[in-house]
């Protein structure tokens, strides 16, 4: 019979023993070594029945097919654009997969230029980590103006909330346009005062992402700040 050696929501370091016995299953950044389940990254434990999941608290964004992310154009070549998406590898946005119709021998800077910010979706990742992007689809576009802040990628689900409840609340109460990328980049557009309030709220979510009653706390903060 196996035994769990950690509590739910405990922080563990790489190499720490999480459980012994074959009746538990490793998930996330945990792995099995013989009879034991070991952590491979610094992260947070979540125990759900027989599955011991390790959610990494740090590290770069790990790309997944279907993720909507915010990228920055850093280079151009004959068949598309090279995009920095905040992970270990650069992604490619091919001219065939953009919304616009690109004419032959056209100047590519007409569509997307250096340092342009784009909301894109990951369509394909090969084993050697070549990442393909697209801007075809609802909500995918070039972003003009606004500010970008970065949060740890593992906190993104908290920033968005259940069915977007958290982000909808921030949007409504601050009157800002906000887009959250799965890679942890958050684009905020609005007047200076409201942008700062939204930034403050998101930073608070990032810092206190694992405390209960977070939505109420953020609501309180937003009400207090917007009345000033």
């Amino acid at each position: 019979m196996g035994e769990i050696k950690v509590k739910d929501k405990e922080i563990v370091v790489p190499g720490q023993e999480l459980a012994t016995g074959m009746d538990f299953l490793p998930g996330g950044a945990a792995f099995r070594e013989g009879e034991k389940i070991i952590a491979s990254q610094l992260g947070l434990i979540s125990v759900r029945g027989k599955v011991i999941r390790l959610i990494p608290l740090t590290g770069k964004y790990v790309p997944k097919v279907g993720d909507i992310i915010i990228g920055r154009i850093i280079d151009m070549n004959f068949n598309g654009w090279v995009v920095d998406i905040g992970c270990s590898y650069d992604a490619v946005l091919s001219i065939r997969s953009v919304q616009e119709y690109v004419e032959r021998d056209d100047d590519l800077t007409k569509y997307y230029s250096f340092n342009d910010i784009v909301v894109t979706k990951i369509t394909k990742i090969t084993r050697s980590k070549l990442i393909d992007l697209t801007t075809k689809g609802p909500g995918l576009m070039k972003l003009v103006g606004g500010n970008i802040i970065e949060v740890t990628p593992s906190k993104v689900p908290r920033v968005i909330g259940k069915q977007g409840s958290m982000i909808d609340m921030i949007k409504k109460m601050t009157n800002c346009r906000i887009t959250v990328g799965q890679n942890g980049r958050v684009w905020i557009q609005g007047d200076i005062k409201n942008t700062l309030i939204a930034t403050k709220a998101i930073r608070k979510i990032e810092r206190e992402s694992h405390t209960p009653g977070l939505t109420d706390k953020i609501k309180e903060l937003l009400e207090k700040e917007t009345k000033k």
Partner: protein, 235 residues
């Protein structure tokens, strides 16, 4: 002549006072400081990021690069800055010992850069460097099999001692310095260098001492890492 008393009054199996801190360099992906007595090492980790020039890339797994350097003001006589014969060797042994715990299979063609700087040196710098580097790697979120703890043990005069300082390393009647790095969970020895002469029994005793001290260092490293991320929970 026998060696009866250590210059700083420590017991023969007692290491110097140790301190660890994680997240000291803001712009790095991971960073840490490790201090043992008057020896201070800081480490910064960048990556995983794409490796250039391209011919150095490995399409099967990621690459690890370590750079160890003593800063010019770290020793009483100014150290000539930049890479040296000694620095290159220590970079290499550090890289090899860290490679046995990190797992870079998910990062083909990428590189993880580890920079270790010694801001203050009083013997045992490569061990302090490894201790700091492994914490910085964990802070950067690199997948690892375990942490690494390192300590130097050795023989001064006729006594087997733990964690030699500079005075002991330069002891007139001869001393032997043995840096050891250990994987705490399994007890594997992944670095062992020996400079001098020592008897078989004494080496065994020294390694036992190293194992015991490394377990203590592991606790310090673990505590420092957890402390750096605890604030997310408690506020």
């Amino acid at each position: 002549m026998t060696y009866t008393k250590r210059p700083d009054g420590r017991k023969f199996d007692e290491p110097r006072k140790m301190e660890a801190k994680v997240g000291i360099i803001k712009r790095a992906d991971g960073s840490a400081m490790f201090k043992m007595g008057d020896t201070i090492a800081i480490a910064a980790v960048y990556g995983p990021r794409e490796l250039h020039p391209r011919f150095l890339q490995n399409p099967e797994r990621g690459t690890l690069r370590c750079v160890y350097d003593m800063l010019s003001f770290s020793v009483p006589d100014r150290k000539r800055p930049g890479p040296s014969r000694r620095g290159t060797e220590i970079s290499m042994v550090t890289e090899n010992s860290l490679l046995s715990v990190v797992n870079l299979d998910q990062f083909p063609n990428a590189v993880v850069d580890v920079f270790i700087n010694i801001t203050q040196a009083n013997a045992g710098t490569r061990c302090a460097g490894i201790n700091a580097a492994v914490m910085a790697l964990a802070d950067a979120g690199i997948p690892m099999r375990d942490l690494v703890s390192a300590i130097s043990v050795g023989k001064v005069g006729d006594k087997v001692v733990c964690d030699l300082d500079k005075d002991e390393e330069d002891y007139e009647e001869g001393s032997t310095d043995i840096p050891v790095a250990i994987v705490p969970r399994t007890g594997e020895v992944i670095l062992l260098q020996l400079d001098g002469s020592i008897k078989k029994e004494e080496l065994k005793e020294a390694l036992k001492m190293a194992k015991k001290t490394c377990d203590d260092i592991y606790k310090i490293q673990k505590k420092a890492l957890k402390k750096a991320y605890q604030e997310f929970q408690n506020e």
